[in-house]
């Protein structure tokens, strides 16, 4: 199996004061992307964020009103859980669900849209916060990255998004 040396860029945008939009192109038909995104068999293999995390719990009841629950775990035992409810399920192109990290976190509404062109799929994930205040509260988590490193990365993101 060969994987491309340069991965496709992931772009991040804030089109309104309540939203964050993440966009990424993958080299596969959307039928497969939908499967990878919504099957408990596949999700724990990839939705792991930065290195060092596993997903020991992945429950998905993929239907409107159905619940989902993910738990991530790090080698040192740290765990993070996330849960929500599906609102719309339209294979292979669209899923809308709520997402919450717990009582102290704002519940977001996440919309996944998959569009296919020439065998490639554009993934567009829109995260909608209940209010601008709630979105801004999300930034109070962690502040450990060095400024210059972050600035360089941000500039890179913005150039990519432009």
């Amino acid at each position: 199996m060969t994987s491309p040396s340069m991965p496709n860029p992931t772009t991040f945008a804030t089109p309104s004061d309540r939203e964050v939009v993440v966009t990424r192109v993958v080299d596969a038909p959307r039928r497969l992307v939908f499967e990878a995104w919504t099957s408990p068999k596949h999700v724990p293999l990839w939705m792991l964020g930065p290195e060092g995390w596993t997903m020991p719990v992945c429950e998905i009841d993929l239907r409107p009103g159905g619940a989902w629950h993910f738990v991530w775990r790090r080698a040192d035992g740290t765990e993070m859980g996330m849960h929500g409810v599906y609102r719309e399920v339209s294979p292979p192109e669209r899923v809308v669900h709520t997402e919450s990290w717990g009582a102290d976190w704002p519940e977001t509404i996440n919309t996944l849209v998959l569009s296919e062109q020439a065998g490639k799929t554009t993934i567009t994930l829109t995260v909608l916060y209940p209010s601008k205040e709630a979105r801004d509260a999300a930034l109070k988590t962690g502040m450990k990255e060095g400024l210059s490193e972050s600035l360089a990365r941000l500039a890179e993101h913005l150039r990519t998004a432009a």
Binding site: N8, V26, D27
Partner: protein
């Protein structure tokens, strides 16, 4: 003007910060200020732009809390304010770390799924 203090910067400025960062000239100005304070004339020099044009960009950056004015009354040097920028970048950084890590693994999984399908298309021996 209110006294400057990091505790005064509230995340409500985030949208102004992102709007300010959406312009290439303003990002270049911030990059220049990251290596030390500079006067408007010094900032204008590398750009093919008048000082009033640079001042306009600086106003946007100041409103977003990204740039402040130093004490020297003659030069009125501008300096980078690290906190709101760090807040804005950290916020994107959380998304970036999570999704870029995940998408890399998704690429690998999709390659496997495609290969498995190709296998499945072959007639059984």
């Amino acid at each position: 003007m209110k006294p400057r203090g990091y505790e005064k910067h509230r995340p409500k400025r985030l949208d102004q910060v992102f709007a300010a960062l959406a312009d290439a000239t303003r990002r270049d100005i911030l990059a220049r200020l990251a290596s030390g304070e500079a006067s408007v004339a010094e900032l204008a020099r590398p750009f093919a732009m008048s000082q009033p044009a640079i001042s306009k960009h600086l106003k946007v950056l100041e409103r977003a809390g990204l740039v402040s004015r130093g004490r020297d009354a003659q030069r009125r040097p501008r300096r980078l304010e690290a906190k709101p920028l760090a807040e804005a970048t950290q916020w994107l950084e959380n998304y970036r770390r999570f999704w870029e890590g995940s998408f890399g693994l998704l690429d690998t999984l999709l390659d496997e799924l495609k290969a498995r399908e190709r296998e499945g298309e072959r007639p059984n021996p």
